[in-house]
Amino acid sequence: MGPELSRENLVNAVLALALLAAPLIAVALDEPFYVTLASRVAILALAGVGLNLALGTGGMVSFGHAAFFGLGGYVAGVAALHGFEGSHFIAWPLEIGGSEHMLVIWAVALVVTAVVALGIGAVSLRTSGVYFIMITLAFAQMIYYFAISLPTYGGEDGLSIYLRSGLPGIEAEDPLTFFLVCYALLLGVIYLLHRLVDSRFGAALQCARMNPERLATLGIAPFPVKLTAFTLSAMITGLAGALFAELNGFVSPAMLSWQLSGEIIIFVILGGVGRLFGPLAGAALFILLESFIGGLTDRWQLVLGLVLLSVVLFARGGVIGLLAGKARHD
């Protein structure tokens, strides 16, 4: 399926360019706040892109993706703490200290979330429907309370990251550079997922969502396919979490909370479930609404609630669905 100039592709391209243009214009106008805002959009969109693989493509409604988002954040926070203090995370039998290298932190975040997601997925995927929604929530709550009870890493107050980690040859403390790193990652991951969804694995995953019995009769067991997709999805969200902690210079149990799981779901739905660029559209809309309505009135949550409710009740298919029409397979 080569690239085709459908309306959806056009909308996607406009979205991607707009996200790139916004911080460049902001720098030109000397409004650094909007660069940070654009980084937030890119990072939260990445978290949503991760969830979209499980939820949209695989039909696994995870209400616990904040667990992976927060774990990624804690990897960045803990690495920064030990790197800053020069102390060790584990002193024996291996000496594992902190790190100030972004690539190392990313790799660790990916590995940690992958291991945790394999465990959570292996248990949760035994259930389906509402039970799946709730058991993923339960696991996320477990990790949330675990983080709260860790006095070494800030407990309820969380951890500050005093120095943002760097890439070799790149000065990530500069907001625009950091945005470009996040942006490149977001587009890179979206491209990889586009390839993945069109691959044999992607076909199997979509079939596992639509008709698992048929997939099984074809000789492909749905469980490993779903577990792989769930794990990949968690890893992407975990990577986003590491970036989010670096952006804010702070990580706290709030990153693991169930409200955050809800917000990531909102990004996906608001943008359009299963759409490649849906989470970007959703996260962008969410954050724009939040910062502009939040500036106008204290009752921003009321407005958000009403907007969400109308999207669910009247605009099925989300923003992308509204702009680009129905998806091919719906």
């Binding site: 248990v123 929530l137 006095p151 909102i266 009403l306």
Partner: protein, 306 residues
């Protein structure tokens, strides 16, 4: 550790469990009959608590407040059902989760608007402010015992309602075959509104009673909501009996875990570590319980559609 202390903690656990049952009963009925996940159930709990403490504050009577909270939650539930919820019955669970998540935001903001940002407080009614002596010494607050009593009476009442009355028969019929009961001439829309309002009223009752034990504020419903979900998942969604059993199980596990796990770890670990490890494990204990139950019984302890 004395026997009286243990009994006291056990009763605390049962009291938490009974309160969770009042929440979970509504959730599980609404799911069983209408197939709806309602995240906004915690908001109805909050509505009950706010109206109870506000009315009690205005009139000076706890009992008027409790009745008011019960009715206000029922009314709010009926209103929400008619305006929003009934459009969600045919949707998938994802839409339901999202729409009711939106309702939480709306309810919380409205509560902040109407009642202000500061928490409200509610006094325990004078009749129940004393303590009841426990066997083995010590006393137990009469108010908490009353909550246990109200919960058990509600459980029995709910059982009789569902098993013995005409409304209950229609509810059970609605669970098993929605089209058929509609074809037989039962007004299914009104029935659904009634079931939803009933669940809301129970949540409001729980909220009103809990209001005297903790401060009444925006966001108080969500922790209870999550626990209530754990309860109905462990019990088997749709089963009122399962909800009762697992509510008490969860309440007791949570309370005893909080009290005894840190002491247990104190036997093998230095005190400071024992406190933190014990506290974290006890906070996780009910989720461990749930994951354990689902790993072996993916549809809960009392599966309805087995």
């Amino acid at each position: 550790m004395s026997a009286a202390f243990f009994i006291e903690q056990l009763l605390n656990g049962v009291q938490l469990g009974v309160m969770l049952f009042l929440m979970a009963a509504g959730l599980t009925l609404v799911f069983g009959v209408m197939g709806l996940i309602n995240l906004a159930h915690g908001s109805l709990f909050m509505v009950g608590a706010f109206f109870c403490s506000w009315i009690a504050g205005q009139t000076g009577s706890f009992w008027l407040g409790l009745g008011g909270g019960f009715l206000a939650a029922a009314a709010a539930g009926a209103l929400v059902e008619v305006l929003v919820i009934r459009r969600l019955y045919d949707r998938d669970h994802l839409d339901q989760v999202l729409a009711t998540f939106a309702l939480i935001l709306i309810f919380s903001e409205l509560a902040r608007w109407v009642f202000g940002d500061r928490p409200l407080y509610l006094d325990i009614p004078p009749v129940l402010s004393g303590a009841v002596p426990l066997p083995g010494g010590g006393g137990y607050p009469a108010y908490r015992l009353a909550i246990i009593g109200v919960g058990l009476v509600t459980a029995v009442g709910l059982y009789l309602l569902i098993a013995r009355t005409r409304l209950g028969m229609q509810i059970r019929a609605g669970e098993s075959d929605r089209e058929m009961i509609g074809a037989l001439g039962v007004d299914i829309r009104t029935l659904y509104t009634a079931v939803f309002a009933l669940g809301a009223a129970l949540a409001g009752l729980a909220g009103g009673m809990v209001g005297a034990l903790q401060s009444v504020q925006v966001g108080m419903g969500e922790p209870v909501l999550i626990l209530a979900f754990v309860v109905i998942i462990i019990g088997g969604i749709g089963s009122v009996k399962g909800a009762l059993v697992s509510a008490v199980l969860v309440g007791v596990t949570d309370t005893l875990g909080r009290v005894f796990l840190p002491q247990l770890f104190g036997l093998i670990l230095p005190p400071s570590e024992a406190t933190s490890v014990g506290a974290s494990l006890s906070a996780m204990s009910i989720y461990l319980l749930m994951a354990g139950v689902l790993a072996f019984k993916p549809k809960g302890l009392f599966p309805v559609d087995a």
